[in-house]
Amino acid sequence: MTILEILEQSWDNFIKYYIGQGLLWSGYAYTLALSAITVLFGTILGSLLAIGKRSKFKPLGVIITAFVEIIRGTPALLQLYLAYFVIPMLLKMPGLSPFTSVAIAMSLNSAAYTSEIIRSGIEAVDKGQTEAARALGLTEKTTMLKIVLPQAIKNILPALGNEFITVIKETALASTFFVGELMTTYKTINGINYQTIPVLLDIGVFYFILTFSLSKLLGVFERRMKKRA
C-alpha cells in the first residue's frame, strides 16, 4: 500500500464517514464530553482527597493513601472493566449506559492523580511562608486560604493542564465499551470497510489536533499567569 493510496482512502473516508455521516463530530463530542466530565469531577474529588489527606484524623489519610496507591498501581483498562460490570450492579440500574460507568471510573482514576498534583503543589510552597503567617498570629485556615493556596495554584494549574491532555488520550480506552468517542469511530469505520491503517492514521491526526491545540492554549495561559506574578 503506497502513501498515495492511503491518502486517497483517507480522503474518501473523510467525505463519506467523518463528514458525511458526522462521525468526526460525534467522535470529538464524546471524547471531549468524557474528558471534560473526568477532569471536572476528577479535580473536585481530587481536591477533597488532598484535603482529606492533610486532615488531622489519621485513619482518613490512610484510607485515601490506599485508594490512591491502588488506582495508580492497577491498569486503567482493568478499572474500566470493573466499573462497567460493578457500577450498574451497585447502583441497581442494569440499564445504565456504558458511558456513565466509564465516566465514573475515569473520574475516580483521575481524582487519584489530581489529588497527588494538588498535594505536591501545596507542599512545594516554601515552609517559611506558612511560618511567617502563623508567627503573625494568622490562623491555620487564613494561612491556607490567603498565603499557601494562592501560591500553590501556580504550581497546580500547569500540571492540571497536563492531566487534562493525559485524560483526553486515555478516553481511547473507553472504546472497549463502544461509548462513541474517537477511538470508537475507528472501530465503527473499520467494521464497515475493513480498512485499518488509513483509519488509524486519520484518528491519530484527529487526536493530535485536539491535544496539540490544547497544549498550545495552556501554554498561553501559563505565560499570562507568570507575567502577573
Binding site: D126, E131, A132, A135, L136, G137, L138, K146, Q151, A229
Partner: protein, 308 residues
Amino acid sequence: MLEVKNIYKNFGDLKVLRGVSTHVEKGEVISVIGASGSGKSTLLRCMNLLETPTYGEVWIEGKLMTPVDPYLHPEVIEASKTFASLKASGMGTEEAIVKIKAEDLLKEKHSAEGPLYKKLMKELYEANHIDVNEGRRKMSMVFQQFNLFNNKTVLENITLAPIETAKYHHEKDMKAIKEKVEDQAMTLLKRIGLEEKALVYPSTLSGGQKQRIAIVRSLAMNPDVMLFDEPTSALDPEMIGEVLDLMKELAESGMTMVIVTHEMGFCREVSDRVLFVDEGYIKEEGTPEQIFKAPKNPRLQDFLSKVL
C-alpha cells in the same frame, strides 16, 4: 513580660533544649549567642510556639501560652492530691479510685454544685491561658529568610495580619480599620524610606529591602516583644548595615527585643543582656560587658576566641 520556664525540646532522639528558663522584661534587648546547632534558634522558635516545646511553659504577660497538659488540669491535680492523701491514710488503690469517682459523681448530681464547679474551672482556665494565635500577635518574629508573602504586594504584606486580626476580633467598621492600618503601613514604609515600593511584589526587592520590610511588617502588629532569628545571616555583606541600623533604631525607641545573632559587634552595642546557649542549656548569662570582657564558662571562652 515574656517568660519561658524549663523548656525542653526533642527532635526524635536529638535533645536540642534541655531545660532552659529565662525572662524578658519590658524594654529589654536580649541577644542569644552560641555556635550553630546549640539550640538558640530553637529556643526563639519555642518562645512563640513555632516549635511546641516537648516540656515546659511559655508565659506572655502573665498568661500561659503552651498547650496545657490534660494531666496538669486543676481538676486532675486536685483529684490526684485526694488520691495521694487517701493512700497515705492506708486505703487500697482500687478503693481510693472508687471513692474519688463517687465524689466526682456527687458533684455532677448536685445540680447546683456541678455546673458551678465547671464554670469556676473554666474561669480559672480563661484567666490564666492565652490562645496561641493571640499570644503570637503580641510577639512577632523576623526570620533569617525574610519570608515576605510572595503573592502579596509590600503594602499587603504589612496590612494582612492587622486586618485579619481585626476580623478575628469581629470588629464592625472594617473599612475604617483598613484605612487606618494602611495609613500606619505607609508611615512605617516612609520611616524606612521605601514608600515608593508599597505596590510592588517582594520578588523585585533586594535582600536588605526585604528584611527591612519584614521588620516593619512585624512592627505593624504593635507587638510587645519582637523576636529576631538571625536577621542578617542571609544578607549580602553590603546590606547588613541597613538592617542593623533599623534594629538599633528600634532598640533605642524602647522596643523589647530578643535577637539570635552572629553579629557580635552589634550584640555588644545594643544588648542589655546576653545569653550564651550551648548544648541545649544557657551556659552563661550577663551584660555584654561581663560576657565579652570576662567570660567565665570555658565553652564561652572557646566560642568567643573563635568568633571575635
